[in-house]
Symmetry: D2
Subunit: 281 residues, 4 copies
């Protein structure tokens, strides 16, 4: 190091943080971007249980925000996933239970059919923060132990603060033919998963409040059709102070007809480089 | 049901969600505001361990964003709190470890001395979401078991994904006289806790990026002075993929001189009605 | 070291494990006794919620093994304890829920009135092993989050494999006068807690199968009387395969009359040096 | 119900518990045997990581109890298993890390080569109790998150009270040919896993103290050979009061040469009906 550089060193000594253009940060952002680059968004080993059912249209509508509209019929899909070998988590695992409504996004610009997450419970905070702040997915926490399998019956449940939220069960599994799996893949590929990013204002600061689009891809490797059963609990504020109103709303949406119950194995890449989440209008 | 009601029923049937003015929501917001009104922001039983130390000024500056400036000296305070009887959580509990720098906010409008959270680890997702989205506090998750006390030594540690983040220890406790506790209270009362709310944009959507002020109050009921020790770990991405860069940054800030180590008992009201969090400029 | 000792050293090189007389071991015992000596059996900070109720005598009798007999009346006491600053656990904490019947031990040698644990759930394996193997206390595992307190109501619950076992609630607390607390202490001091040590045989190995006595002491520091409520769940094998039969048995014991509901603060020494657990006959 | 039955009913009303001959119980035994009959001992989905290494013979000998002897060479095998679809747990899951020494049982009656568990950590209390009390396996508790897989590297670690016990890593996996897997199966089939059942006395009650034999079977379905690395921690009593002496003993057994590192997929039946655990002499 020569003298000139030494002279320059002094200002360096008081160098402070400033975010760099074109890099994505999350709070705490002064430590730099989450080093997501060392792991992709690939989920290499995903096992899911999904139950779809028709509910009451007027009841469901109460939780749908324009320009979202209920699709042809008021269909809810509740999906548990055990996500393993998640690359951005250095190969660690987590579980989730998602509640999606089938919707039509009737925007001024965008007109899209797809799934709309009313709520997701996940058992790891890291993807909850990422999903809420990067993609507008309404993720919250629950304890979700890995599913159990006994006598051909698959079961899973979620709870928080020690109080049950929901039970799911799928039995009588029959494996789908490869051509049926191929149809599943086609239906998922290029699909639309549409959230709503909402961040409240602090004081007179800005609010974030707009719909988002997250593209989906078809990655099912194997699938089984079965008989599904789902039971939502009714809770008090004392039992689950931050979520009881959500659980009770879902409990009060009647299960009028189970449309499908399915177990799948898949792997997926949540973030195709050329197709990031975006605002829809 | 008579004919009139039937006529009225039709619009009701398609009533959809829209947020109401003047109410605070969090995602998933279609289920209505978090019913926080049934519990206040009171924390009735808080036990804390705090260790303050001088670190290297130039090293610390790298994590300070203008118009924040390092205070007279580069002082970090690491505080563990076991929060019990938290009213907005229906009387449940959680633990946290906060890292605060002593700063001067040299804004165009506001000129404030106070504490500035570089990062907080909490062992419950609910307050993490509230803190990030309502107050701009950079909270993330860690496993933080309740502190242990043996032979007069208090210990606590935090870890994530099974890998240790930090160890704290305070020994040789001497209780403060009531007048010293009163001084602590005075110093806290009307103090300034200043965060930075940062929410990344989704696509071409808005970004949130501004400092925040959260007033503090003095609620210490008893306090003990002791000898403190703190050990930060150095981690790899494989060990803690979402936080290793934060832990390593704190590990690399040298502990030049322990200034104080203190155990306190307190109760507090985090959200005085007349003094909500606000933007500072 | 002289030459003789050096010669003797060779066999030392192949020295193997043998338990020493007069020392207490637990498996894995080749690593030596649990170093319990560095921490006493003191529990420095215990908060408890207890609900006692009369149940049906004939129903309760099914779970009582001679020479135990039901006391004057069929009284069950369900007690939650949050144990903190547990010295043998280096000052760490754990929670338990105990179900005790009031009994008379009508042995050939010993004639004793006292409490008889039908089952204890604890949320830490270490004291479960110690209790089962050293004292004959029928401890098993459950998730038992710390109690919550809101609006003067104390609540706690336990679950395992994500399925609730029991809920307890105590409200309308009224603090006891010091002389009433003194009476509580007197009643506990020198009391009898009587278990049954049962370890099944392996092959044609020995079985352990005998009653035990564990002395109790009176350590209540403060106490509150309140209104109690307890709800036992009914579970399936699929929900809790190792414990459902226990939970269901307790569920099926009717709560005929709540006799008392109490919150206490205490500290205790579980193992007075001069009064170890022993066999009763 | 006729009159005779009515007469008989009176004694029934005071029927008490007595264990039935020929049935296996565990504490709390008054509620009847664990209903294990509704699930077999099959483990349908087991993924394991095993690392074997040569250590120092004299050092290892300190933890070997006669008539066990160290086999030809002082070989330790540390094995992590993620056990899923465990039938006796109604299809639930748990993880373990086992430390086995290669031994020769040089008994008066039995002369057997096989594996000898020095200690097993498991993250579920239910199998810990069963293993200790039914089979003499020295199981204790640890937090053992599912392994992670990233960039072809498999990692797992265990901790207790927030402090790390051990890290294992296997990389550079190469799949074994079917005939090599067949050899693995042959070596396991009819193998001997030999524990030591030790239950301390209570007062002047009996002690259980004898070796046990647990037959093993060969169930590997696929296997990969790789490069292994293992790191044992050194802990203080304050960090892990019930296990630090065990962890430190293993830490102090040098890793002189890694002999093998392997990942396997298997399913197994731990309790063949015709070959229960038994005492060896």
């Amino acid at each position: 190091m020569n003298e000139d550089e030494d002279v320059n060193a002094a200002p360096t000594a008081t160098k402070t943080f400033a975010p760099e253009d074109g890099r994505r940060y999350m709070n705490p952002f002064q430590f730099g971007p989450r080093p997501i680059g060392r792991g992709s968004a690939r989920y290499n080993d995903v096992v899911s249980m999904s139950i779809s059912y028709i509910t009451d249209k007027a009841s469901l509508a109460k939780y749908i925000h324009k320009p979202f509209e209920i699709a042809d019929e008021p269909l809810l899909t509740v999906s548990y996933s055990m996500n393993r070998e998640v690359e951005w988590l250095a190969g660690h695992s987590y579980n989730l239970i998602a509640v999606n409504a089938s919707v039509f996004f009737n925007g001024e610009v965008d007109k899209l059919h797809g799934g709309h997450p009313l709520v997701l419970w996940e058992n790891l905070t890291d993807p909850i923060l990422t999903g809420r702040e990067n993609e507008g997915i309404p993720k919250i926490y629950a304890d979700i132990p890995d599913h159990s399998i006994i006598n051909g019956e698959w079961r899973v449940s979620a709870s928080h603060f020690g109080h049950k939220i929901v039970d799911m069960k799928i039995s009588d599994l029959e494996q789908l033919e490869e051509q049926e799996v191929e149809q599943l893949r086609k239906r998922s590929e290029g699909g639309h998963w549409m959230g709503w990013k909402y961040i409240p204002p602090t004081g007179d600061g800005p609010e974030v409040n707009h719909p988002t689009l997250f593209p989906t891809s078809g990655n099912q490797k194997a699938a089984w059709r079965g008989k599904g059963k789902i039971i939502w609990q009714h809770l008090t504020w004392e039992q689950n102070p931050t979520q009881f109103h959500i659980v009770n709303a879902l409990h009060d949406l009647p299960v009028l007809e189970i449309r499908s119950a399915m177990v799948t194995e898949s792997s997926s890449n949540l973030r195709p480089a050329n197709n990031p989440p975006r605002v829809i209008r």
